[in-house]
Subunit: 447 residues, 2 copies
């Protein structure tokens, strides 16, 4: 590779990222939970040579939030969704969001290992923690504190890596003559005893093709940044301005040295919500069409969710009320801060603010011709603000088609994006090394 | 359908059901965790018009059992495995074994619902509980008692059904004009509060295509039979003789009336381990080849596991030692009893006994020509011993190919097995009704 190339994720959210994408003329009810439709989208993303399909996730229907009935709150579960796509794609990575708060590490490590084998090395795990009372109640629990969730998450990722390593790469000998299937000295119990987790092991599946599935994170709170610097290989982030993105990029990469890691071992990929037109006018028209879809209640509900503060009683054409201090927020701290900054900086009303964040959910909206969009992506990519982007089409299939058919060729023409897949695993395509097994003789001796 | 047809499951265990199938000349190391291989097997089963692929599961590698290194103890995880197969098949059902002991009902109900949507109505759940210290240790727990596991299982299935029903079939209105995505009055919290489980709901996915995925069970202990009579739609069982199978069949179907159920609402499908030859001699030769593969230690370990009693210290060509009373067994009670009965009835040594159960793991072995095998299946089917069978090929791919190419045509010729799929869902193919939603107005008013 002569020139550095950016990395791209295709962020799947059906029928689209716009808050009421389902109201768009193109959206169809039968697309919401249809395998044939997601298969077509995954094949489009693979045709565009995306590094990965990325699937977000939550563990509740949002039934307790206002505006519930106006939003699409049903979706596929990540492991089942990505495994079905593994069967009908060849090269694209498959990244699923899975919470560490209400799951068991043995089950999660095993499901990712299984997905990695099924896909021949294309699995990735977006590690998240789960917030909110509705979610807690779905698991018979009370909501846990931010710090506790992160402690458990850190242990959880540690346990998962040990379980993936519990079978060394050459543990299966398959010696028919001697009758030895496995070399038991290369299969390890992990006997993990942490503050939150206790796990024996070994796992009941061979080490993943990639060693470990690619570990992805999105949190950009202090605790989130430390965890990412220590363990993440890809970070999704939400930034509106080049300066903020650069600051985050330097901050995060700067924290890695103390964990013995090189900055290249982590790819930062901010979210981008592109509205592509063949002309500027067409792009602006598409944008207006999207804004006009938003019912007031849904817009206010979305903004309230982003802030963790119920705005439903306030005049929609007035300013934001006084908000709690960030230290008191027990939800998405970084998302709260980001939205509040936009409001303060641009002096927006509640309506203007929800229109501003409704589609992209706090991510960066880029509107224009393929060249204009490529310019903006290139600017961030070449100025230490991003190693790539997670593309969030407003509406499927058109938003994805537009990006693949119009923007990707422009990026390829500029030599900053691949024209063919070069690796056979997600890890190889991202330029990430295959982890050494922590239990192997070589690894233990070097300690 | 003029004549009653039997139901068939294809029990996938790779590389085969024989205890050391991996040593068979046909078995290949690369088949153990290879998607292309399982895809080929699923397509073969679908070509044979099987009702379902069935996948067993355990939550441990068996690393603490003797003979561990001689057995294939790595395999795909059920949800990922079945979802990948959903993408490459059209008609065959996809039944996964999932434990209720170390999982959360919200996650499991959701994954089955997602699989059911992805496969357009072909999901089934073999409900099991998990035993053993190695498994408990993988989840930071001590082993639980048989009765407690069943209590939790009963609550778990109840919760899952409520979660599947939490979205009524017509809850999604997708009214673009009014902006109403869902009718909130048709989306229900379940607020379940049991002895073991507490779950709020609703689920974050629409009601499964089948209403509920098909509920399958295997337990044949007293507690298992009661649970099956109340909730199961398919029961897998292990019986050696027509008399025992008939007794079980009558017993189980007789228990259904007190739960307001009709005997037809439950299909009993015993396991069958077929060794098919074009001649009797060929079949016997295949059988001997399989027996010769078993290393002594692996055979004794398998038998010990079946009995929950370590036989490794006893002379292998001597009789079984005195075994504990069945009331003291905290594992697979029914399997223990079955094996003990074979030993007592036929006066077998430990070696003879492990050779007898090694392949079929306590299920019924049928050896012979396609006609002979069809005769035996038909006898059970027509004499109230079975509604169908779960076929356990000794080695893949040949064992499955033999059954599909030689035995299925014989069953079809006799008019007791389908020549084409008639339903579009697993439920329809099995002849099971789609459950009424317990929260729908019609359902509530009839109470």
């Amino acid at each position: 590779m002569s020139k550095k190339e950016l990395k791209l994720g295709a962020f799947f959210m059906l029928p689209g990222h716009h808050v009421v994408a389902w109201r768009h003329p193109e959206a169809k009810a039968e697309h919401v939970l249809d395998f044939d439709f997601i298969k077509e989208q995954a094949m489009t993303a693979e045709r565009g040579k995306f590094d990965m399909v990325f699937l977000a996730d939550v563990l509740n229907a949002g039934a307790t939030t206002s505006g519930f009935d106006q939003q699409c709150s049903v979706s596929f579960e990540p492991f089942t969704f990505l495994s079905s796509l593994a069967a009908v794609t060849k090269n694209i990575g498959l990244v699923g969001t899975v919470s560490t708060t209400y799951t068991e590490p043995f089950n999660v490590a095993r499901q990712f290992a299984s997905l990695d084998h099924l896909s021949k090395g294309r699995a990735g795990w977006n590690v998240v923690t789960s917030t909110g009372e509705e979610t807690a109640h779905n698991f018979g629990q009370k909501e846990t504190k931010h710090a506790e969730r992160y402690e458990r998450a850190e242990e959880f990722v540690d346990v998962a890596k040990k379980l993936w390593d519990s079978w060394e790469d050459d543990a299966i000998c398959f010696n028919k003559e001697t009758g030895q299937f496995a070399d038991a000295s290369k299969v390890h119990t992990i006997n993990y005893e942490g503050k939150w987790l206790s796990v024996g092991g070994p796992l009941n599946i061979a080490r993943p093709v990639q060693g470990h599935p690619v570990v992805v994170q999105a949190g950009s709170s202090e605790a989130g940044k430390e965890l990412a610097a220590e363990t993440a290989e890809v970070v999704f982030a939400a930034w509106q301005t080049l300066e903020d993105a650069q600051k985050f990029y330097r901050d995060l990469k700067g924290r890695m040295a103390k964990y013995g890691r090189n900055p290249d071992e982590l790819k930062i990929m901010p979210g981008v919500y592109p509205i592509v037109g063949r002309t500027e006018e067409e792009a602006q028209l598409k944008r207006q069409q999207l804004l006009d879809l938003i019912p007031e209640a849904a817009g206010v509900a979305r903004l309230s969710a982003q802030l963790g503060f119920d705005l439903s009683g306030y005049p929609v054409d007035g300013p934001l009320p006084e908000l709690p201090n960030i230290e008191e927020v027990n939800g998405f701290k970084s998302r709260f801060q980001l939205v509040k900054e936009i409001a303060d900086r641009e002096n927006l009303t509640i309506r203007q603010l929800y229109q501003r964040i409704a589609g992209a959910r706090g991510h960066r909206e880029i509107i224009g011709t393929p060249e204009q969009i490529a310019d903006q992506l290139q600017e961030w990519f070449e100025n230490e603000a991003a190693d790539g982007f997670n593309i969030m089409p407003p509406v499927f299939p058109t938003g994805l088609n537009d990006f693949v058919d119009l923007v990707i060729p422009e990026l390829q023409k500029r030599g900053i994006f691949r024209t063919e897949y070069t690796g056979s695993t997600l890890r190889e395509n991202l330029g990430l090394a295959r982890p050494v097994n922590q239990f192997s003789k070589e690894s233990v001796e070097s300690k």
